[in-house]
Amino acid sequence: MSPEFATALAVFLPLFGAVGIALLDRHPNPRETVTLVTATALFLVVCSVAPAVYRGDEPAVHFLELVPHLSLALRVEPLGLLFALIASGLWIVTSVYSIGYMRGNNESHQTRFYVCFAVALSATMGVAFAANMLTLFIFYEVLTLSTYPLVAHKGTDEAKRGGRVYLGLLLSTSIGFLLLAMIWTWFSAGTLDFVNGGILRDTLDPSLLPLMLALYLFGIGKAALMPFHRWLPAAMVAPTPVSALLHAVAVVKAGVFSVAKVTIYIFGIDFLRDAEATTFMMWIAAFTLIAASLVAMTKDNLKARLAYSTVSQLAYITLGAMLVNTTALIGAGMHIATHAFGKITLFFCAGAIYLATHKTEISDMNGLGRAMPFTYGAMLIGALSIIGLPPLGGVWSKWYLAIGSLEAGQWAMLSVLFISSLLNIAYLLPIPIRGFFGQSSDRGETNAVREAPLPAVIALTFSALGCLVLFFFPGPLYRLMALVFAGQ
């Protein structure tokens, strides 16, 4: 299988899977088999592209020309590969988890759920491999649209309201700002291709640069910069597997991934640094970072707290991009990976707790850790990884981000990072601590609690292990990120 074919296949494979799932509407077991097979196959396909990329190749596929000089095309570069690997790999884990969750919870419309999930994955692959901004934009919108039915899945008034906020914010920012920025870029540069060193250097008046940057960064609503972050907490009405894979990994990472892509390949980091255009957006990111952490502390609902934590963690990545130096961007890229593992673990745990006890508020979860040791163990690992303590993967990304801010001479940002890490401890650690040491008000009930269904436990154990692995073997990750800048 040539890398080019594999690249194209990665986008289409989940779609084929979706068709298969739809056809097997009334047969749950074969249907879930299709999901698992597709997920595994997708991961293998993405892996098969990896060697070529590590060698420095960039497999490219050209589909068709939409408007003259503007094509639908794919091109795999290291950053995209990183994102695709994480998303497709975690899809397998999440599929296992969802089977346990959806059945354990007797959810309705399961076929629609799996179909939309597969379509969302296809879109994620498209975002990851897009060769130009237009292709990225198209898949970005497909991702929004295909996840909407997942968010509004329950069909209750609350779910519909959440769905409306979700879709409204994501589509309005992307159409209102991002599309405008894109067309402006095309108008100035005559292209939207992702090119090393950027395409705007000689074509855009530097005084307009901050405006353009703001349009892009706010336009990529999935990166959840304040004040356009409201969709993320709203999306928490979705079933937990959705929150786990999509709203901790695929969707939000598609956002920050796009931010990184735009920074590196549209603007070019040298151009941004020379023009000193990023200061404003950097402070917005810093503000989001701190503010979201503070809000997270006030949330008693577990998923809401995790959602705000995600908002804050995404701001790390945007901040890294806005520091515009290689080290910070490597840190940002690695944070995409490490946070993905950490946060998906936490969401898996939240779902497992809900499955086992139907509890959603942190204050009700005292003492559950003793009844659900696997779940709470995994949760502790996930939390520590996100806080950035060894021996967990989260250390590395924070390390590079910190170095990056020093390199940029941004002492203020360094302190923001530290303060935020302290805040992380303050809002994440109490959850496992209450679980293990808290006294439940209703002891009899707590004793009756068992672990969640086996598939769910397997999944969360696996992702927690992932956090550990990333600490001991960050090499491939780092090499991949370093490759991004090798050419520059």
Binding site: I138, K160, R164, S172, I175, L180, W186, F187
Partner: protein, 493 residues
């Protein structure tokens, strides 16, 4: 020999079919004839476009009398394109019409509907193809009278008042056009468009020509439902039979917008229209206000057909915005949107036809929960709606793309932003419907709703596929629109 006569056949075939439909006096036979003739007209228009693209403007003297003494047909890139739109939409919606009309109209009136349909098609094609201003008026009246008839054929009594209101406003508009033609004739002594364009130059600073310009603009704008002269449109679309709404949405206002292009850019030259008369100063703000007011009004409609009517008013605003940018890019965007909007609105109205066919109403609350019972219909609505919003891979996106490029070319990024924001309003009114279709439980769960029959679904999906296809492969649409724009702007390069 035939190929030389295509311009005449383009109009005469439907014209002949009209009376024959009446004579047939049979619902199915009339339908079959109308459909056959429509497809024939579509192929003729394809052939015409091909001829124009390969060998330039076609001039056809009716009666063998050369213009300006006789009436001539003059087919260039612009009207060849519009002919294609009109005949194409008619052909597809007719394929859809048979079942839908049989359901919505009393049997003894069906053949009259198809007679009217053919006459309307005759009128629209005639307006588009002709190179003579008075001939425009005559065919405009054919199209208008048959539209009043078609609208009023619906069973809903409100269609009568809608048709009457349209009749009064339409006649005022036509009379304004008539006055404009008189004033032009006084100053130039000719009725031929090409001849006019040459002779107006000599008298363009006279007050008479300026007045003529104003009267023609107002008259045609009334027909095109340009804001704020759109008041007749929403009810007319809402209460007409579904297939007829689809036909009108795809063709009638498009032809009027084409006429605006024709008058502003060919008969009067763009310099006169925009530099001397400063038309853009008036048109652009009006169009913008129109886009927003109509979109917001659409949001508050409870009848989805009416909602789409208001949406049409907004979309016409985009075309006018493109026009008033007075650049090759802007005009390209305008013409492109003419085509694209015809596709998306026809598609959406046809979808509503499917809905009405099964649930007997297009009111929002009655459509609750039909997403499950009618997955194909609902899916078509979603795609058509997204196209209206301007999501990539649909035609709507391509229109917006060019419109915004044109705005940026002027350095008017505020306009670009406003256009984008307005498409969010479209998102709101479309999403209201989608949410009700999919996520609201049916108001009457005991009622069994079946999916629309294949005879309705196939034409519907043809239109939907066209929406996607022309959103991906834009070589035809953009290519022709760009050539047309260059021609209109007098930019030969």
């Amino acid at each position: 020999m035939i190929s030389a006569q295509l311009p005449a056949l383009q109009v005469v075939l439907p014209l002949l079919a009209g009376p024959v439909c009446l004579l047939l006096h049979h619902p199915r036979l009339s339908w079959a004839l109308a459909t056959a003739v429509s497809w024939l007209a579509f192929f003729i228009s394809l052939a015409l476009l091909d001829q124009v693209l390969s060998s330039g403007t076609i001039v056809y003297a009716l009666g063998g009398w050369a213009a300006p003494w006789g009436i001539e047909y003059r087919v260039d890139e612009i009207n060849a394109f519009v002919l294609l739109i009109v005949s194409g939409i008619s052909a597809i919606t007719l394929a859809f019409a048979r079942n839908s009309i049989e359901y919505e109209i009393r049997a003894e009136r069906i053949h009259i509907l198809y007679t009217g349909w053919m006459l309307c098609l005759t009128g629209l094609l005639g307006i588009t193809i002709t190179g003579d201003v008075f001939n425009v008026f005559v065919f405009l009246e054919i199209a208008s009278l048959s539209s009043y008839l078609l609208i009023s054929l619906s069973r809903d009594p409100r269609s009568l008042t809608a048709a009457f209101r349209y009749l009064v406003l339409g006649t005022i508009g036509a009379t304004f056009i008539l006055i404009g033609i008189a004033l032009l004739y006084v100053m130039t002594g000719t009725l031929n468009m090409f001849d006019l364009s040459q002779r107006i130059a000599g008298v363009s600073d006279s007050r008479t020509v300026k007045t003529a310009f104003i009267f023609l603009s107002v008259g045609i704008a009334l027909k095109a439902a340009v804001f704020p002269l759109h008041l007749w449109l929403p009810n007319a679309y809402a209460y007409a039979p579904s297939a007829v709404s689809a036909l009108f949405a795809g063709t009638a206002t498009k032809v009027a917008v084409y006429l605006l292009f024709r008058f502003f850019f060919t008969v009067f030259d763009p310099q006169f229209s925009f530099d001397v008369m400063q038309l853009d100063r008036l048109l652009l703000p009006l169009a913008l206000v129109g886009v927003f007011v109509a979109s917001v009004t659409a949001i508050f409609q409870t009848d989805v057909k009416r909602m789409l009517g208001y949406s049409s008013v907004a979309q016409i605003g985009y075309m006018v915005i493109g026009m008033s940018l007075v650049s090759v890019l802007g005009v390209t965007a305008g013409i492109l949107h003419l085509f694209n909007h015809a596709l998306m609105k026809a598609a959406l109205f046809v979808v509503l036809g499917c809905v009405v066919f099964r649930i007997g109403s297009a009111r929002l609350e009655d459509m609750a929960g039909i997403g499950r019972a009618m997955p194909w219909t609902a899916g078509a609505f979603v795609i058509g709606g997204l196209s209206l919003v301007g999501v990539p891979l649909t035609v709507g996106f391509i229109s917006k793309w060019y419109l915004i490029l044109a705005a940026l070319e002027h350095g008017w990024w505020w306009l670009a932003a406003l256009v984008l924001i307005s498409s969010l309003l479209a998102l709101v009114y479309i999403w209201r419907v989608i949410e009700v279709i999919y996520f609201q439980p049916p108001s009457d769960p005991s009622r069994e709703i079946a999916e629309a029959p294949a005879t309705l679904l196939i034409p519907t999906w043809l239109l939907i596929v066209a929406n996607v296809y022309f959103g991906i492969d834009t070589s035809l649409t953009v290519g022709v629109a760009e050539r047309a724009a260059r021609l209109l702007m007098g930019d030969a390069s």
